[in-house]
Amino acid sequence: MNFFKFKRYNRVFILPTKFGSIYLLMVFIMLIAGAAYNNNLVNLFAYFLASVAFICMFQTNDNLKSIEVKQVEMSSGFSDSTLKLVVNLYNSSKKPKFNIQAQFTDLINIEQLEMNQPLLSKSQTRVISIYESPKRGHYQIKEIKISTIYPLGLFYSWMYQTCDHDFYVYPKPNGTQKIPPPQFQYQNTSPNSKNNQMGEDFSEHRNFIKGDSPHHLNWKAFARGRGLLVKEFKTGASQFLLLSINDCKQDFTEEKLEQLSQWVEYCRRQDLSFALNLGDKKFSAQKGSQHIQKCLKALAQYKDQDSI
């Protein structure tokens, strides 16, 4: 096991930073020079630097204690963009904490937004960091690394805290294929349907189910001996787009998924109803953010049957 990966949760670790190492090297050189030249002022200087480093070590270590991760939120996104991680930290100690960073170490960090205000006692704050999107897929955040170099950047103190959050990286919208032509769909409505709209055109009969209103029974059919039948009507034809992986002309699965992702984005922008067919997974035609999210998640999690 890699020594630096060995971790115990909620335990604070500390090491000198790059500048901290240079600082300690400077102290060492000054001590040697002070002894060689018998120069007490240089010795005093070296001792002072060492004393400040000694105190700093405790301050840096202490800055992370009593910090708890209350909430983690990583927004899902496309694979060619950036992802934002928002971590809610809570300070359960009596002293304010400064300059704390929270990171998800499995991704490449692009930017770490600084805390502009100290994290006061018994308070919460949000720490935001930006990451480069990995490949499409479903990811889980099992732990968050909290770190600090406060107050003087001489020491780097860090600890891991567990959490449970997942996010998706969708295929990037990319493709030149024209979106498939819209298709039409008739919707059947029945008296008991939740949709209150009743159509005018007769669509079909169905068998009587206990609870159906007797006013909608086809009595003529009953008189003819066909049993108890309920009439169903259609509201009219609605159009939707059928996005199917089989319709994608690209050679590779990833490119096909990117094409589908682009079509989904198009539908989102145009507020169009669409259905998605990924072979083993099918999503009926709908529109709205929830439907789009489900489809994009399916695209993110798609596994090529040939490659399984």
Partner: protein, 667 residues
Amino acid sequence: MRISGLERKSVSKYNKLFISLAVTANISLHAFQIPVWVTLISSVFIFWNILNIYYNISLPHPFVRNLFVILGCFFIYMHYETVMGLEAATAILVLISSIKLIDFSKYKDSMTAIYMCFMLLFFHLLNSQSIGSSIFFGIDILGIYLLIFSLHQSDRRKSIRNFYPAFKILLLAVPVWIFLFIVFPRFQTSTLQLTNKIAQRGFSNQVSPGQVTELTQSDEVVFRVHFNTKMESQNLYFRGNTLETTTGMFWSNQVKSFGLPTFKTSPGQQKVLGEYILEPNISPYIFSLENPLMLQMSADSYYQFSTGSIKLHSEPQTRIQYQVLSDLSAHLESKAKDLNVYLQKPKLSPKLNELVQKLNLQLKANSTTRTKIKLLLNYFTENKFQYTLTPSSLKYQNELEDFLLNKRTGFCEHFAASFGVLARALNIPSRVVVGFQGGTYNPYTDHWSVYTKDAHAWNEIWIAEENIWLRVDPTEFVAPERIQKGERQYEQSKMQSYFNSQKSEELNRKINQAIEMISYKWNSFLLNYDFNYQKRLLSFLGFAEHTYVELSIVLLTGFLFLYLIFKIYQNIPAAEKKPELKIYREFCASLEKLKIYRPQNEGPLDFQNRLLMQFPNSQTEIQEFFSNFINCRYKNSYTKNQIALLKQSTKNALKSIHSTPKRYSQQ
């Protein structure tokens, strides 16, 4: 250890300006010690940087910067013929620091520039250990740390309160600093030489008219001494070199009479123990009161001469501390065979021969040596010889005659040289001693400071009847005030009477004494805290005959102890001086037991509202408590009764809250 994102962080204009100031201040320490062209180039880059900060003037291309660095290093190498010496390294560091100033927009560049300030300060302290340097060191280091703290601060509000944590760190570091200074092992290493950085003052192996005068142009401290008994200025003759070879006014030390001196002691011994601190200087001689019986010093080795002079192997490059036990009542002795060298007579002019014959005629056949000495001294006093701070030049190659017969005005070296020659002319073995006479006493620290101005020359005459060398100071007879006050004060008093400003003399003296006291304490404890001093101090503390292993254990134990103190300090809540805040804090602490936490930034009214929602049954008590608290806290003054009322309402509120369940849980 990668600092994620921080290395790409930009530095604010505010921080850039202060970093520039810090680097400029540290570069200016070396401005006069490096080649002029390096100073000029650095000034150009500093100025360019300031223009960039304020007026967004574009900076030079990295290629230009690198070119300046390479060319600069090359020319510095050509100037010093090396890059390994302290001066060359300083010049290179100054050049690179100033060029770095025009490229520190990011965090790591700023930290690099700040760390260069540390190195510049370090180089400065290698060259200078004065109090002024130390005061600058204190201010500089404080500024640098505040700057580093500012770079790592999250709070963007520009307020001095933001720097309180930095001050706290520095204050907490002070006890650790003191502990390290006292306990960290010191080593007995031979010191390295720092070229061109020692004081250019001191006696050489010869004296001639003008040389002692030249020394008195400088007002630097040569050494400081503390005696174990009260001393008068007129008794303070600090011996340096002893000169025996003369050509007239010119005396030199050619004969090395190695060996311990022997003394003839008097019944009434007057032993004085002196603790000396000698500043670095070009003279290899150790100065001490006459008749040194015992010498204790940490220098590698030294020579003692039978003349009583003490000489080091080489000129002291660093400050030296030593102790000498002197017997003021004793007199040096010599063997008869060693006296011939002190009778060597220079060639005298006919007029001087005439003078010698005249003096001989005044002596009786059985005149004692002391009688002869008195005769010679009378010659100076009766012929109105004058002691002057500004002696005029004497005739070339006829200085002795010109002084004794014509000018008759001179400095101590004139009197000592001529007296020595006249004594030899009368067949009395004589020699000239150069050293210091008098000094400035500081009553606050009970020590004497001897300056270059106190340089002096006097004679030693062999008293054949007593077999002793007797100190004879002709200056004492010509200008007794000079001997009583010491040269420095004698000169100052002359200046004071000239300007008729005696009223300010007392104030000036006190100011000088105060400055001298600080300087003495600074030198004697701080700068001279070496291996031996540490050994003595640790012995005093009970660590006699410590080894380095034992010292390391003490160091480690000390650190652990400091760590414990620090942890205890961190857990001690701040004492609340205001009674209403103390009561409020206790109220909040009591609520924490019910897991009701008040964030630091939540005001009393918001907190009240939150509590009212959670404890509707305790509404009256809670409102009463907060109303009383707000009245006490935010009014200009309050009475004891109001505090008592607040205490009572606190109890009521807490009792009510604790007895009723919460409406819903609070995070």
